[in-house]
Assembly symmetry: C2
Homo-oligomer: 218 residues x 2
Amino acid sequence: MEKLRPNEIADALEELVFTGEFRDGDRLDEITLAARFGVSRTPIREALQRLVVSGLAEQLPRRGVFIRQPGPVELMQMFETMAEIEAACGRLAAVRISESALDGLEETNARCQAAVTAGDVDGYYRENQRFHQVIYHETGNSFLENEALRLNRRLSPFRRVQLRWRGRMSQSMAEHETVVRALRDGDAVLAADTLRSHVAVQGEKFHQLVSSLRMAAQ
Amino acid sequence: MEKLRPNEIADALEELVFTGEFRDGDRLDEITLAARFGVSRTPIREALQRLVVSGLAEQLPRRGVFIRQPGPVELMQMFETMAEIEAACGRLAAVRISESALDGLEETNARCQAAVTAGDVDGYYRENQRFHQVIYHETGNSFLENEALRLNRRLSPFRRVQLRWRGRMSQSMAEHETVVRALRDGDAVLAADTLRSHVAVQGEKFHQLVSSLRMAAQ
DNA sequence: ATTGAATTTCTTGTATACAAGATCATTGAC
DNA sequence: GTCAATGATCTTGTATACAAGAAATTCAAT
């Protein structure tokens, strides 16, 4: 394995958390990781720091850093926050989006629709991501764009699950079309409200999922 | 000086940036800082990493980390984002805030008003901060609360300046009172809109300031 | 057998040594 | 005198050594 730099190591670790190789509560042992990545503890420690700052892991002094996946409550809060940020992006994009970007959104939506009819969850996921990222970008506010991307990325492993809900993809599609119409009309309020509930429903689906698991456990 | 831990060092460095001891573009020399804080380079490097991740500094590989204050454009984007986040907080707080918190907000506003009549800028600043932080908290969403606090803190050195604008404090006061009324009425839209423009105007004031400086320079 | 204390071992946190790249200065050519 | 090239110096980045605290194990006493 070629030698990775600390931020590449951090990305790799992040990926390992997302893919589920590291589970909630796992301790990230410096020595083991150093051996695994073929470097000394120093760059590993820097990478771990990045994970801690980004909220994916927690550091207990003199005890190590542990993977910390958000629990149901925190997850709901994160989805709610994402919903508000998406709404803000829609609000700003409604008055700033370019014609070409609007056309691009409609093309993306067409590919989304194709994925829905084909039952292609991965394809839908990819085009859905693109749809939202275009809106972030069309806020014309790269700071907000980055904040949106950051939280979007953090939630992506959880968002993916709930696409498999029956009928969710087609409902999601309908919402996308409302968003594009609102953006084309420059209707900031409609764009914001539609995007907010579009994302908020994901949190609610998750809540239902967790609740049903609780029920089943009793 | 007692020995500080890396995150305490990071806080101290952040403070030094805010107080202006470190200026935009300054290189944060590891050896100098190590001597200054009486530790080795290792904890200094960890602290610097935190600054970089939080966006206060930029790291150029093999060249060092440099203080990176936001320029006019980025600052405007940050204020705009803050405005949207405050609006979101107002929206959520409007339906969740407790009676006691509402009473607390009115007390805070009274102290704000006292500071305005006394021309006490520092006092106003402090109570104004408290006002906003209560609203963040009353969203009942600690994740959003933390995001709001983070950005608020990042903008605080710039927000402080524009309070000295003539008539700004009293106008700001009036906006606070509208916010409290909206929250008491559970009027989510009014709370959100008022808070948004309350914060957005700060960015605009800054824009004016920068523009006038540009003019003067020519 | 179980509990509790003491010791050993292991891990993190810090300091220092070493490697590699960047900056700066000196020197030589034009 | 200016510019370029080469070498010295300094800084960052990584590895390793050492210090200090936490966990685990052992062993004795009940």
